[in-house]
Symmetry: D2
């Protein structure tokens, strides 16, 4: 799978005193869309594979804001796999309300083995996950 | 002024189940550093100038994550003015714990007049604010 | 209407380094359930009535935590109207995962007229809203 | 020690579209004050004692809101130990801006041994921590 769509309604606590969605919330929205995508693939973000705990710490995140979103708005979120690397994934996200582009973001996550003693170590994405993911064709 | 430094201690609620600071929190950390910078200049982020309400909605935000930060860490945050435009400002941020670079981010905000009826409209940065801000010299 | 049920999946950013949902998040979950309830009644939390802006600032909030909730959990949230006052509403909330009671909370909100100049002033709940709300029978 | 005071400046992201601090944020403010208190005692919230990982999951939390707090406000937070139990602690919190009482809250946390396999188990507060804590005298 190389793309995925979901929706999210803006909550009161997503807003700030400017009356619009706080810009940092879009990163949470991206992450949750990413996790719904992984769940839709039949997998899990945090899981054990061959006795190793796998996690996806973030390497980079960015967002361009095009129009404000407000309390109660129902946002259409479109995720696509921008790049499938050996040890990392980059996702792109479009946020729309109807025809209006609200924001466009990107998230890069590294596949890591989590060890309580030694911390995190980047590893090749295990085939059981990698086989589910495809790069989206260029637009 | 073209640069500013402040500190921030990582709170428990900044962390996630991965045991590290949630990546979206760095955007809040950047924003608060920006606001402390504006306050250090003797101004305010949200203020009235000539009867107009001024705000700084975000146009773009990005962050690269270099090393995890954890509960209780005292982060040194260094802000510099990357670009002073006519209607917008771009700030760069370094997050360090001692000598360790934790993250490097960027925030671009547009100077806007806020009107309860018509919404937000980008305007040239009023001189009373613009005169306080300078671009940092290239490294 | 005097009760309402909805569901919410625990997001990664809801968790803390303890590996469970951060306790403050339950207050956001309550608020969003309250707003979905108001929406289900065909009304809106923030609206104008007779040219007045109406809002519901919180007077009191509490929560008892019975069992931890974790990333990916699907929580059943049950709201009931505990008390319908002249100027305020008190809601009770049960959070369950299957048969397990996770938390039980309460939220009291005052009906206020919001005036940009003078701030907030408690007012009797306008009939157009009050008529939609009923107290739940005692258990 | 049975009381502790600290300050906190309200950040932009603490606010909501009502123009005031979102009510759920006060629970984060309480928790951070609790942790600063523990740090002031020379201890740590999350630590190992005799090879056991100790944590303080929340049992109950409540807050009464007296007056709104706004962006930029400097809040005085006063913590006192309301109850020192065998396995739990209850803290009370007053939030003031100058002479104005903003909110009054309470937090009860259970001392737990955290086991990655079996989860959390309430234990008597280890003497090395308990000896640092005293109940505040009745007002």
């Amino acid at each position: 799978m190389h793309q995925f769509s979901c929706q999210r309604r803006v909550e009161f606590s997503d807003t700030d005193m400017g009356g619009i969605v706080h810009f940092a919330r879009f990163f949470v929205f991206m992450e949750t869309a990413e996790h719904e995508f992984i769940r839709a693939l039949g997998s899990n973000v945090h899981r054990e594979i061959d006795g190793k705990k796998i996690g996806w710490p973030r390497v980079a995140a960015s967002c361009d804001y095009k129009a404000p979103a407000r309390f109660g708005d129902l946002l259409d979120i479109h995720l696509k796999v921008v790049r499938k690397g050996v040890k990392s994934m980059t996702y792109g996200f479009d946020f729309r309300r109807g025809d209006t582009l609200i924001a466009r973001g990107s998230l890069t996550a590294a596949c890591c083995e989590l060890d309580p003693e030694t911390g995190m170590r980047a590893i090749p994405i295990p085939p059981v996950i990698a086989d589910l993911l495809e790069e989206a064709p260029e637009d």
